[in-house]
């Protein structure tokens, strides 16, 4: 893979953010011209810091069915952490996300995530992380992420839209709030309330968060209609 694959993630997510975004969507060429922070990370390939808060209300099955709003169910959850020492970790993989997804999919009864999941909101703190997470979440086959991107699979009108909301690259990164915002965006998609970000037929979505400074920790939630 090359830097252009990373640039395309930025172009997609800032465009998806649309009027909610922090800046006008750049094109691939302008991403590749932006300052290098630590190659291949450029100033535009890192989500910008932002302040945000988000709240979500959880209810039991019984309680949810008495409320007016159509409930969105938590079908599976999983979380996991990799080692706190950089030297003991394998760079270029997202083991923590693989393990978290395995738990969440098992609980949700999902065997083929690339076919059973309609959309995903994943952590794109850095552009390359979105691609790593798509692979780790099984949204494409191993080593297939570049060809899926080439075919536009992850675009908003693609077969498995990723970060149709704009993600962190499009809307900003409020660190620990970002994961909950992914959950909230997924809930809105399933409810059909995502306005101009809406993906037609979105029924089962996955929300993912990633973080940790030296360790890597990930959380995965599968949300959908029952």
């Amino acid at each position: 893979m090359n830097e252009e694959h990373l640039a395309r993630v930025i172009v997609k997510n800032t465009r998806n953010a649309g009027s909610h975004g922090q800046s006008a969507a750049p094109d691939v060429a302008s991403v590749l011209r932006s300052d290098i922070i630590s190659w291949p990370i450029r100033s535009l390939s890192r989500a910008r810091d932002s302040d945000a808060a988000c709240a979500v209300i959880l209810a039991s099955d019984k309680k949810a069915r008495t409320l007016d709003r159509e409930p969105v169910f938590v079908k599976g959850i999983g979380w996991s952490s990799d080692d706190g020492h950089l030297g003991r970790r394998e760079q270029g993989t997202a083991r923590e996300t693989v393990w978290a997804a395995r738990q969440a999919y098992e609980m949700a009864g999902i065997r083929k995530p690339d076919r059973e999941i309609d959309f995903a909101e994943v952590s794109d703190w850095y552009a390359h992380r979105e691609l790593m997470h798509c692979e780790a979440l099984g949204l494409c086959g191993p080593y297939d992420v570049a060809s899926c991107q080439d075919r536009g699979v992850f675009e908003r009108d693609g077969a498995l839209p990723v970060n149709a909301s704009g993600g962190l690259l499009g809307k900003g990164n409020s660190v620990c709030t970002s994961g909950l915002i992914r959950v909230a965006e997924a809930v809105q998609q399933v409810r059909g309330q995502a306005a101009e970000c809406q993906i037609p037929g979105a029924e089962v979505g996955v929300a993912h968060s990633w973080g940790g400074v030296t360790e890597a920790a990930a959380g995965v939630t599968v949300l959908g209609r029952w």
Binding site: S81, G84, E215
Partner: protein
């Protein structure tokens, strides 16, 4: 519906100031001790929960990250909880919920704090207060406790000498505790003559600055029955929080801990306990200051409201009394590594299972209660554990 949850092991280590071990080594030590105590291997544990109050104490941000591999939590679900001092009991409550939800069978909780890594614990505490109104006046824990203790003594007519008796009791109890940092044989007069920090709180009314860790393993009913014929169950949990603004409290009188009564009521209701004074056999209460043990005795219903002075006068809470409190020495005698104050829960377990050694109280202990207190003096967490 919540599933039944049992405690199946605890991991202890000596509390001391300036431990030679790193945070990671401290965590490894208690995790291994807990696994040995429960006769389990690290591969048996499904998930790990960490508790540590304030990162600035040990100087490592996200300090739970070094605990992941050390606790055997690598590539398992792990999370960290922090509610200041009450982390000590809110963290095991979170671990309990991991099992009660039915998601996991065996969950380890590790609480740790290495307070000797900072130059001034009180300077760190000052940063916990809001930055606009309270922090600039230099408020810290002893000063605020002075205000609170004054309100408490005034409201209920409790005396400084009664406070001092708690210090004598707890530091004396710690003489039997091999993990204790500050066992002392002292008299009420010694406490009264110690330096006044913020009247009526004196040096010997407080707890020391401590490095330490504790671990506890929780099990589902099926897993517990494989390990023991006589499980110790979590019977009730409760949490209560009030406003962080002194003037925004439900009860503007600092002397009454409404939030602690609330937490205790939840836990007792869940445990089906109506009269804690007769149904609780043993208590380990959060006692960073002498009067806090007294307030917590009242809030947890171990004596009538305002009756904690008489309780200590009559020797009810002594080690050989009818309702012993902090036979381990509590935070004052054993040491106060904020989050690792989970030691209160560990000692309840050790007393019930008869593993408390020289700290064992001379009575049968079937049901015990512990609590944690902290935040902006406005958060309390309570756990009741016991046999069938």
């Amino acid at each position: 519906m919540a599933k039944r949850v049992a405690l199946v092991g605890v991991g202890m280590q000596k509390f001391e100031f300036r431990k030679k071990e790193t945070v990671e080594e401290m965590v490894f030590d208690v995790a291994r001790n807990a696994l040995e105590n429960a006769r389990l291997g690290k591969e048996d544990i499904d998930a790990v929960v960490f508790g540590s109050a304030v990162d600035a104490f040990c100087g490592i941000h996200n300090s739970d990250k070094v605990a992941i591999a050390a606790s055997g939590g690598l590539l398992k679900p792990t999370m960290r909880n922090s509610t200041s001092g009450s982390t000590a009991v809110s963290t095991p409550i979170l671990a309990y919920e991991h099992v009660a939800s039915g998601l996991y069978d065996l969950v380890m909780v590790v609480c740790f704090e290495k307070m000797s890594e900072n130059n001034s614990a009180q300077a760190v505490f000052n940063t916990v207060y809001d930055e606009a109104f309270v922090r600039p006046i230099g408020l810290n824990v002893p000063i605020q406790c002075g205000l609170e203790a004054r309100a408490y003594l005034h409201r209920y007519g409790i005396t400084e000498r009664q406070m001092a008796k708690v210090s004598v009791k707890n530091r004396g109890n710690a003489l039997s505790n091999p993990y204790a940092q500050l066992p002392m044989k002292i008299t009420v007069d010694d406490v009264m003559a110690s330096q006044v920090l913020s009247w009526p709180v004196k040096l010997l009314d407080t707890s020391p600055v401590t490095d330490g860790a504790r671990a506890v393993i929780f099990a589902s009913e099926d897993a517990a029955r494989e390990l023991t014929d006589d499980p110790v169950w979590v019977k009730g949990v409760g949490r209560g929080a009030d406003s962080v603004w002194f003037m925004g409290r439900r009860n503007s009188d600092l002397g009454r801990l409404d939030y602690a009564y609330l937490a205790a009521n939840q836990a007792y209701e869940m445990a089906g306990i109506r009269n804690p004074r007769t149904e609780i056999d043993y208590a380990e209460l959060y006692d960073p200051f002498t009067y806090k043990e007294m307030q917590h005795c009242e809030a947890l219903g171990l004596c009538p409201e305002g009756g904690a002075g008489r309780m200590i006068d009559e020797g009810i809470s002594l080690k050989d009394g009818p309702l012993p409190v902090n036979a381990s020495g509590g935070l004052q005698g054993e040491g106060n590594p904020i989050g690792a104050g989970m030691s209160r829960l560990c000692w309840c377990y050790l007393q019930i299972t008869g593993q408390a050694g020289a700290c064992q109280v001379p009575k049968e202990v079937n049901t015990a209660v512990c609590n944690g207190w902290g935040g902006m003096y406005q958060y309390n967490a309570v756990m009741v554990i016991g046999r069938e």
